[in-house]
């Protein structure tokens, strides 16, 4: 940078206006090209016109958190040199079937603009977007340099679309298909990768249910020597896994297929030795239908594991304990609640470096099941894992005292997502609301960015949140609160709030309208099954023209009720692709 600084000095001296930027454009662009964070880039672009221009010319990756907040034309006009796009579409509650079919968030209009303006586009990462097979084929054909496709929680496509990608994308390095509503027509798409194709580094098809063409897969893995992430689907057997691993010991991330085939001693030993050759493995997942007796085959591969995803393996506590004894470096762990509190005790004992824990329910809809985890398991983990900062915890009972202990042990929570599965359930020991639990969370965990609340909650919880959660960005609320005051506290209090999603709470128009000023600084607001009326929404829409206020009506509901409301800021104006069930006010 030495030569740059003397250049700077010269240009500074020649500056007549004190307000003009002192850097030549090329220098500024060079410096700014090192900025990766899109938030930093946003800040930079606000400094002055020169900086705005330098930033827009140097940006290569654009992140759009709400696809309707801006139009593809506006994006293309501002950023001429984009090579990588991340787009998010539907509101998060669409994951839980709360958003009507054909709601929107279709990628095609974006692809058409990109094909014209960004012919050298390399990466596309989509979350909760609708994408058709035609769009996938269009993508595959339109971008000769295309390298990475990641689809998370998307829908509208089938394996035919994947076949198009495999056929045409000669430079593909990443194909990552996760948790999508995909129409699985069979595994022949894998054979569409040409014989000459060797560039694949990331392949994740764990989402697919049908049998894949194993022969094609084996050959593909064999010739892609740079492959570092391979996540198989359930149809791949243990024996097949072993064969794949023989040609890919360099894998850093492995998602196994089904872990329950009957193996001979010889086959088991082969598997064990092949796995022990995977010295680079830091992430392990899959393990569908894992049989306890085969888990020891994994032990040698676990010494460097930092992320273990057992959320599709119904392990018992003893099996988990034995496995964790071999995973001392674990930072992230996802499990099913079949491991119970005893399993979580083992987590606390064996994983001192743990930063993230997610416990999913094995039987969320059967309330006769008495298994699962309780507050005791969570408390046990908190004692053993002081670095814990991300938790997603599904349970059937909780107490205020337990949560207070947990946050005392782990004050660095950034993400605290607690789901007491029975709506409106109080502290089961004291029968009191769970207000004090979340009060303790927001008071103690000053770095908290994301919070999901549950259980019986009065407005006091929201008073606490508004008063203490100064770094909170995302809040999810369900079956909670007593009156408008609760929501008003949050809207009046949390300065960094960006996403607020509420369902089944007694918040009405007064609460909705108290956030008038705030919604433009937020990405979005969702309210469903609350007490908001159409008139309230119309008023909001009228007062705030730069917000899109959309109401989704349910069949047979009262005309004056606004069943589902989605409010978001946008510079693209109201959208024109809404289906009939979505009213834009």
């Amino acid at each position: 940078m030495g030569s740059y600084s003397s250049e700077l000095k010269r240009s500074k001296d020649s500056d007549e206006s004190a307000r003009r930027s002192s850097f030549p454009d090329e220098v500024l662009e060079r410096v700014l090209s090192l900025l990766k964070s899109h938030r930093d880039r946003s800040s930079v672009s606000l400094v002055c016109k020169d900086w705005y221009n330098a930033e827009r010319w140097s940006r290569t990756h654009v992140f759009i958190g709400n696809c309707y907040s801006v139009s593809p034309e506006i994006v293309a006009r501002r950023f001429p040199r984009i090579r990588s796009v991340t787009l998010k579409g539907k509101p998060r509650f669409s994951d839980f079937n709360l958003v009507p079919e054909n709601w929107g968030a279709d990628i095609h209009a974006w692809l058409v603009v990109f094909a014209a303006k960004y012919p050298f586009l390399e990466e596309l990462r989509l979350k909760r977007m609708a994408i058709s097979d035609e769009s996938l084929e269009f993508l595959a054909i339109s971008f000769p340099n295309f390298k990475a496709l990641s689809l998370l929680s998307c829908d509208g496509f089938s394996t035919n679309g994947l076949a198009a990608i495999a056929t045409h994308c000669k430079n593909l390095t990443e194909l990552d298909i996760q948790e999508n509503g995909i129409d699985d027509k069979g595994g022949s798409w894998l054979s569409c990768f040409p014989e000459s194709f060797t560039s694949l580094e990331v392949l994740n098809f764990a989402n697919l249910t049908s049998d894949i063409n194993f022969d094609a897969l084996e050959k593909l893995v064999g010739r892609c020597k740079s492959m570092r992430v391979l996540k198989l689907n359930r149809s791949v057997s243990l024996e097949q896994l072993q064969r794949l691993l023989v040609s890919a010991p360099q894998l850093a991330e492995l998602g196994t297929g089904s872990f329950s085939q009957e193996l001979t001693i010889h086959e088991y030993e082969d598997l064990e030795s092949t796995l022990s050759n995977c010295k680079n493995m830091h992430t392990l997942s899959g393990l569908w239908d894992a049989k306890g007796i085969y888990l020891p085959a994994l032990y040698p591969a676990c010494s460097h594991l930092t992320f273990l995803n057992l959320s599709y393996a119904a392990l018992q506590s003893v099996e988990l304990a034995k496995l964790l004894a071999h995973c001392p470096r674990l930072k992230r762990l996802w499990v099913l609640d079949t491991v119970e509190d005893k399993g979580l005790e083992a987590v606390g004992l064996n994983c001192p470096l743990l930063e993230e824990l997610r416990v999913f329910p094995a039987d969320p809809f059967d309330d006769e099941i008495v298994h699962g985890v309780t507050e005791a398991g969570f408390v046990a983990v908190s004692f053993g894992c002081p670095r814990l900062h991300y938790v997603l915890y599904f349970c059937r009972q909780m107490t205020n005292a337990a949560v207070a202990t947990i946050v005392q042990n782990c004050p660095d929570f950034t993400h605290f997502r607690l789901c007491i599965m029975n709506p409106g359930q109080p502290d089961y020991l004291t029968n009191e609301p769970m207000d004090e639990a979340f009060g303790a969370v927001v008071k103690t965990c000053t770095k908290l960015q994301r919070l999901s609340v549950s259980g019986l909650l009065t407005d006091l919880t929201f008073e606490y949140i508004g008063r203490y959660a100064k770094n909170l960005e995302t809040l999810s609320v369900a079956f909670a609160g007593r009156s408008d005051w609760g929501m008003q506290c949050v809207l009046g209090g949390c300065p960094k709030l960006r996403k607020l999603e509420i369902r089944d709470c007694p918040f009405g128009n007064a609460a909705l309208l108290s956030g008038l000023e705030k919604y433009e600084s937020m990405r979005s607001l969702w309210m469903s099954a609350c007490n908001v009326t159409m008139n309230g929404c119309r008023l909001l829409a009228r007062e705030m023209p730069r917000l899109n206020v959309e109401v989704m009506k349910e069949d047979g509901s009262d005309d004056s009720q606004a069943d589902k409301v989605y409010v978001y800021r946008s510079i693209a104006g109201p959208r024109r692709d809404a289906p009939p069930s979505v009213l834009t006010l």
Binding site: E179, A314, D367, E368, E554
Partner: protein, 294 residues
């Protein structure tokens, strides 16, 4: 049989063992609970659809929908969403086909009525200790993504247990059966495969349900726990006016302990700790059945 849904949380708390996970199931007779359910479902319906006054009424009024004990025994079931069970066979699920009226199943399907009443397909004959006949379902709750829901539904984890078939999926190594106790407000499940014989089963059940027998067995002087006999639980429970019975594959209720352990684990569908006054007449049948089997 007494209806015990009146047990509140505070009453329970003194009895609950910290490390046992207890759930409120709904014991006892069906008809009064059915009425409760209907009422509660109505308030739930208006609550869930966001009607202006319905929610606050439901909340401040009876408080029925919250888990607050009192008459809350019925309400707890309301919010526990029931999946379609046998209906969720595959990934591609559509609302109308499920027979549930739509919610929860296919990604993106517009939900129909938010609350759907679903009748449990069977109630075991003569056994009042099973779950109630109807439950309500809440769309999108608990918040679990469709992929995970569909995956767990079509390939349930090994501790899943149908009412029809208490036998484990082959090779999964578990054999969960429900255990209920007359007068207790909750059910438990035990894995028969982890016990070597009747005495292990009996001591495990004793631990689980001792909070209900402590009061009764003191006066009978059963204090020493060092010596376990095969039918200890039965002795203990006999002494404290309960017997351990099981429902076999044919739906008959038999006394536990009469048949060899292996045979028992193969044919036991459900366990019930029954008041001995109700168990009169079981024993002879058990012996006869045993004879016809062997």
């Amino acid at each position: 049989m007494e209806k015990s849904s009146g047990v509140t949380n505070t009453e329970e708390s003194g009895l609950l063992l910290k490390d046992t996970e207890l759930r409120l199931g709904l014991p006892g007779s069906e008809s009064p609970e059915m009425e409760d359910h209907d009422q509660n479902v109505l308030s739930l319906k208006s609550f869930v659809s966001g009607a202006k006054r319905g929610f606050s009424d439901a909340l401040d009024g009876g408080g029925k929908w919250v888990f607050s004990g009192g008459s809350g025994g019925g309400s707890e079931g309301l919010f526990s969403p029931r999946r379609g069970g046998n209906n969720n066979g595959g990934n591609d699920l559509s609302g109308p086909d499920s027979g549930l009226g739509g919610p929860v199943l296919k990604d993106g399907v517009a939900p129909k009525p938010l609350v759907v009443q679903e009748k449990k397909s069977q109630v075991a004959a003569g056994n009042g200790n099973t779950a109630p006949a109807s439950k309500a379902q809440v769309v999108g709750w608990p918040p679990i993504r469709s992929f995970r829901k569909n995956t767990m539904a079509s390939h349930p984890p090994k501790n899943d247990n149908d009412d029809d078939n208490a036998e484990a999926k082959f090779g999964s190594g578990c054999l969960y059966v429900k255990v209920s106790m007359d007068g207790a407000p909750y059910l438990r499940k035990v894995d028969l495969k982890i016990y070597g014989g009747y005495k292990e089963l009996s001591s495990a059940l004793e631990k689980m349900f001792s909070c209900f027998t402590i009061g009764q067995c003191g006066s009978h002087g059963v204090s020493s726990r060092d010596v376990l006999s095969e039918s200890r639980l039965i002795d203990l429970l006999h002494g404290s006016e309960y017997v351990l019975t099981y429902e076999d594959k044919d739906g008959d209720w038999m006394l536990v302990g009469d048949v060899p352990w292996e045979m028992f684990t193969n044919c036991c569908k459900r366990l019930r700790i029954m008041k001995s006054t109700e168990a009169i007449g079981l024993a002879p049948r058990a012996m006869e059945k045993c004879k016809t089997r062997t």
